[in-house]
Point group: C2
Chain length 196, copies 2
């Protein structure tokens, strides 16, 4: 492969993933055919298989990319050590990141049922790594007497569900700006974990 061909191939791969993401989010994974995905990017279905093994690997790649980008973006936030400030940073980050990616969120949560057992385990491990970041903050805060949580694991699941829920109702043209929504959720999350 020449350098040019490699670049073109990488571009095609990215276009395939973008098309699959759009179609999976709109119609659901099970309803979308490889032929449809090929059609979206202007390829013959045979040529599509030069870039991707099958529909399942396309789904896994989309989910893995989403989780890895999420983890990397959280790292890039470089949240403060203090549990209190870290929690505020996490809440704002999670809402902002997910509100901007409704298709990815929808697929990442809703198409888990369509993953084979091994792929499921891989994605779950990445999700667990993300959840562990928040759980660590809550546990550290509880230890320091700053938070009061009866069960850091359950509190983590509760806070994340609360925050992800924003993607189902938030509209940029709505009554509240994303910044106002973030502020309300920071306050609620702080109170929910008994922040002093």
């Amino acid at each position: 492969m020449t350098r040019q061909t490699r670049i073109r191939s990488a571009e095609t791969g990215a276009r395939i993933r973008a098309a699959a993401l759009r179609l999976f989010a709109r119609d659901g994974y099970a309803a979308v055919s490889m032929r449809q995905i090929a059609g979206e990017v202007g390829l013959q279905v045979g040529a599509l298989y030069n870039h991707v093994a099958d529909k399942q690997s396309l789904l896994v790649v989309l989910m893995r990319e989403h989780m890895e980008a999420l983890l990397a973006a959280l790292d890039a936030e470089a949240l403060p050590e203090a549990p209190d400030a870290a929690l505020e940073g996490f809440v704002r980050f999670h809402i902002r990141y997910h509100a901007a990616r409704p298709d990815e969120v929808f697929i990442a949560y809703m198409e888990l049922r369509n993953l084979g057992p091994e792929n499921f385990a891989g994605i779950e491990a990445l999700r667990r790594r993300y959840e562990d970041r928040l759980e660590g903050m809550l546990a550290r805060g509880a230890e320091a007497g700053i938070f009061s949580v009866r069960d850091a694991r359950v509190a983590t699941m509760a806070v994340i569900a609360m925050l992800t829920g924003v993607t189902t109702w938030f509209r940029p043209e709505g009554r509240l700006s994303l910044d106002e929504v973030e502020a309300i959720y920071v306050e609620m999350a702080r109170k929910a974990v008994g922040a002093r």
Copy 2:
């Protein structure tokens, strides 16, 4: 129609809805055909159309039944007037009701995208009625100085998302019983809305 025929027809209708629910939850609405649903209940696809107009009306009926049963079950709880006790009752009810119906929850939230505009508006109105019950408690509690919420509407969405999230991770054979999970969420929801 004789009485016998009417009863048999009603039973078939219920079996069709149960099969559709199972298949939609497993494969997603878009991937399921009327032929498949007919096969599940041992009918010819032509006979299926004696009971249901099309796939869309099957989806709407499932969602409407779910929301109406949910509202009726909440009414049957006859929650106390006091906002504090009402919130605790609501939290326990919501978790218990939804944890027992993962398929219905999955469809009710995930297949909204597959409703036509009019059907969507109808289901949204029912959902709104349910949300308004919690919002009313929070607003009354805030007025009485028992709760402290900056925005009763947003707090409602946050609490409901938090509670519904339980369906995604709770397993009866897991570390915590449903009763223990309920107790933790009651405490977190109370704190989140600043209950004194």
